[in-house]
């Protein structure tokens, strides 16, 4: 009896803690949502110090979809970047991982160590150089979208760890058997390994897909004042940080909701794969 009561008490405390945690975790999103529904009539869409809007309206959302705003374009830009990056980056990562996991060639360990060392340089260091490199290829300003895709994809080979770790767990005997039957490496890769790697492919694509939504630093550098090439992060970050945009706070919240909701839904649907990938990656190191 005593033990049961104790367990019950323990569970109750755990529930209380979990509820508190959930509230803390959800609170900012609830605020964001409520503020996005505030009417322009209150503080002209600027900051307020209270939580519940006195007057609800869809003003901010209507603005984002109206002709006055390029938000839809920025949204599509981000979506295009995210899709292409997800596609190409996954392909690159799969290629690199297969080569490093299955093939033994001269310079393999050198390549892996070299990439590891490269990864220790901070990414912002080379930002200015990358900007001018892209400019040489005419991939800034009007060409910023392909430029950003190129930059994300070009360096993605170094992020092979998780996928390689996954490939390492697929028994090599399968490869050997197929090769004895006369299949080439390419055939083994395309027709055996890839179909067996669905979870890790989804993981890689999901991670690649989510990154561009948050890129406000390099994307603003590359767009360089050419608004048609902005992504949502660049545009919305401008609303908050530059004084030019008066009354954009509720619009920021509305834009934030529009960005967060689809990405979150996608993420939660594919959560299983994400957990698998992240856990595998953590253990492999």
């Amino acid at each position: 009896m005593g033990l049961k009561a104790k367990r019950k008490l323990g569970n109750t405390i755990t529930y209380i803690v979990l509820v508190i945690i959930s509230v803390i975790w959800l609170f900012p999103f609830v605020c964001l949502f409520l503020q996005s529904l505030r009417s322009y009539n209150e503080a002209g869409g600027g900051m307020v110090e209270y939580l519940l809007p006195k007057q609800f309206s869809l003003d901010s959302y209507i603005f984002l979809f109206s002709q006055d705003s390029k938000f839809v374009r920025w949204y599509l830009n981000t979506l295009i970047i995210a899709c292409f990056v997800a596609l190409f980056q996954t392909i690159v990562v799969l290629c690199v991982s297969y080569a490093l996991s299955r093939m033994r060639f001269k310079g393999r360990t050198f390549l892996m160590r070299f990439w590891l060392i490269l990864g220790m340089f901070p990414g912002f260091l080379t930002m200015i150089c990358l900007y001018f490199l892209l400019k040489q290829f005419h991939l800034t300003q009007a060409g910023a979208i392909p430029g950003l895709i190129l930059i994300s994809v070009a360096s993605s080979g170094m992020g092979y760890y998780v996928t390689k770790g996954y490939f390492d767990t697929i028994p090599k005997a399968l490869d050997e058997a197929a090769r004895i039957d006369g299949a080439s490496r390419a055939r083994v890769f395309l027709t055996m390994i890839i179909p067996m790697s669905k979870p890790i492919i989804i993981y890689a694509a999901l991670v690649a897909f989510m990154a561009p939504w948050c890129d406000y630093v390099f994307a603003s550098y590359v767009a360089f004042g050419y608004t048609d090439s902005y992504n949502v992060a660049v545009a919305m970050q401008n609303w908050v940080w530059t004084n030019d945009y008066q009354g954009y706070f509720t619009r920021f919240c509305a834009g934030g909701m529009l960005v967060a909701v689809p990405v979150t839904i996608l993420f939660i649907c594919l959560q299983k794969y994400y957990v698998e990938g992240v856990t595998g990656g953590a253990v492999k190191g």
């Binding site: 002209g44 600027g46 900007y131 005419h138 004042g225 008066q246």
Partner: protein, 448 residues
């Protein structure tokens, strides 16, 4: 093992190919730009005659040039993008000889525009609006084309003296004044603040009403309101290349300590908030801000909307000081161009966009205070509440000269030290003097 040849080769060939290709591409891109004016000679011959009629093109008329064609990018603040588009359309409609050019207007705020121009002049806009304090940085980065002859003449003849001098670095004019409203004053809520002439009373009123008083004391722009009030000076001398040659500063003095103490005193009030944007503020009782926020301020205060010059304060030495500050200007700059025709078009367009009519139209559209002397005489301008408060305040300020970029950072540091209570009401005069001495020494070190 041998066939690694192929892979490496592939890599080498591709790299070389790409780079040779883009190198060639650059050359090819340059070539037509250089040839274009010559090639268009015959086609646009009649245009040369028209150019004499173009309103502000005296310089070009002396030596007729073909304007050629191309694209002109303009960066202006977000709220005047549409306005600027309309005006440029009107300009090209009135000057068909220059219609070979198309214009792209992008919303890049004054701060970002200067930052971008400094990062990459070639990639930057052909014309851009910027706040006066950026001019020396832009000149030394080679991002501003100097104005000579009739163009410089235009600036001095059309604008008030302060605006004209703001566009000068050393003894060269570098930009067209666009507004002369880059100063600050007090917006307040009539129902909260009873007497806007005394800082102590404003703060007390705000405290009593549970409202906030906003002033951005960690900004090098607002901070001098205190220091200049007590009679301190801070100016820099520059040469024509945008180098700072000398710094005139006396912050490390008794006057400076009085000012700093006042800032500390203000920051210790529970009503005080550091900030200068109506939209980012909450529960505002009064705010020190500029004309660009007048729309938002009206929206927030409603019928209690009121403006005044900055208040005076009673210093720790018992004297009363009227708050001062900077009076500044917004300028329109032209990027140095490689093509003479495009340069001429840019100058003509800039003169149009900063001329009397457009400045007045801009005031009517977005409320920016004109720097053009004719536009300033307009009745609507003269009777504007915010602008008259500003005009009153500007009489008390010093025209903002040129300051090195590091000064703004340093001022933020000083202000942050006050806000974070590193310098507080309990600091001794010696401590404050040490801080000011270090501030002064650092300011001097920016001038070679």
């Amino acid at each position: 093992m041998k066939k690694k040849v192929l892979a490496t080769l592939l890599a080498a060939v591709m790299t070389a190919g790409c780079l040779a290709g883009c190198g060639g591409g650059d050359g090819a891109a340059d070539a037509p730009a250089a040839d274009a004016p010559a090639a268009d000679d015959s086609a646009e011959a009649p245009a040369a005659d028209d150019s004499a009629e173009a309103p502000a093109d005296d310089a070009a008329a002396a030596e007729p040039v073909e304007y050629g064609s191309g694209n002109i990018t303009i960066w202006v603040a977000e709220n005047v993008v549409d306005f600027t588009k309309e005006q440029t359309d009107a300009f090209f409609a009135a000057n068909p000889d220059m219609a070979g050019y198309t214009v792209t207007v992008e919303p890049v705020g004054e701060g970002d525009a200067a930052g971008n121009m400094l990062t990459d002049v070639e990639g930057g806009a052909d014309m851009y609006g910027f706040a006066q304090d950026q001019i020396t940085r832009l000149v030394s980065a080679g991002a501003l084309a100097p104005l000579t002859g009739a163009n410089a003449e235009f600036v001095t003849s059309q604008n008030d003296a302060g605006a004209a001098s703001a566009a000068v670095v050393g003894d060269t004019t570098y930009a067209y004044p666009m507004t002369s409203d880059n100063g600050y004053f007090l917006y307040y809520d009539k129902s909260v603040v009873t007497d806007p002439s005394s800082l102590e009373k404003i703060v007390a009123d705000c405290e009593a009403a549970g409202k906030n008083f906003y002033m951005e004391i960690n900004s090098g722009w607002y901070q001098p309101a205190f220091f200049f009030a007590t009679g301190c000076t801070l100016t820099y001398d520059t040469d024509s290349d945008g180098n700072f040659t000398a710094c005139n500063i006396d912050y490390a003095s008794d006057k400076g300590v009085v000012a700093l103490k006042e800032i500390i005193e203000l920051a210790s009030s529970s009503a005080f908030q550091n900030g200068s944007s109506v939209d980012n503020g909450t529960n505002i009782g009064a705010i020190v801000d500029g004309t660009w926020d007048s729309g938002s301020a009206q929206a927030i205060f409603g019928e209690n909307y009121a403006c005044a010059k900055l208040p005076s304060f009673e210093g720790s030495d018992g004297n009363t000081y009227q708050m001062s500050g900077f009076g500044g200007f917004k300028l329109l700059g032209i990027k140095p161009q490689e093509d003479a025709g495009k340069l001429a078009v840019c100058h003509a367009l800039a003169q149009y966009l900063t001329g009397a009519d457009v400045q007045l139209a801009r005031y009517n559209a977005v409320g920016w205070g004109p720097s053009n002397t004719t536009a300033q005489q307009d009745d609507a301008v003269k009777s504007d509440v915010a602008l008259s408060a500003l005009a009153e305040q500007l009489a008390l300020t010093i025209p903002q000269g040129n300051y090195p970029g590091d000064y703004w950072t340093l001022a933020t540091s000083l202000g942050d030290d006050v806000i974070s209570k590193t310098l507080s009401t309990s600091s001794t005069d010696d401590e404050l003097m040490t801080a000011l001495q270090s501030f002064q020494d650092t300011c001097i070190s920016y001038a070679q």
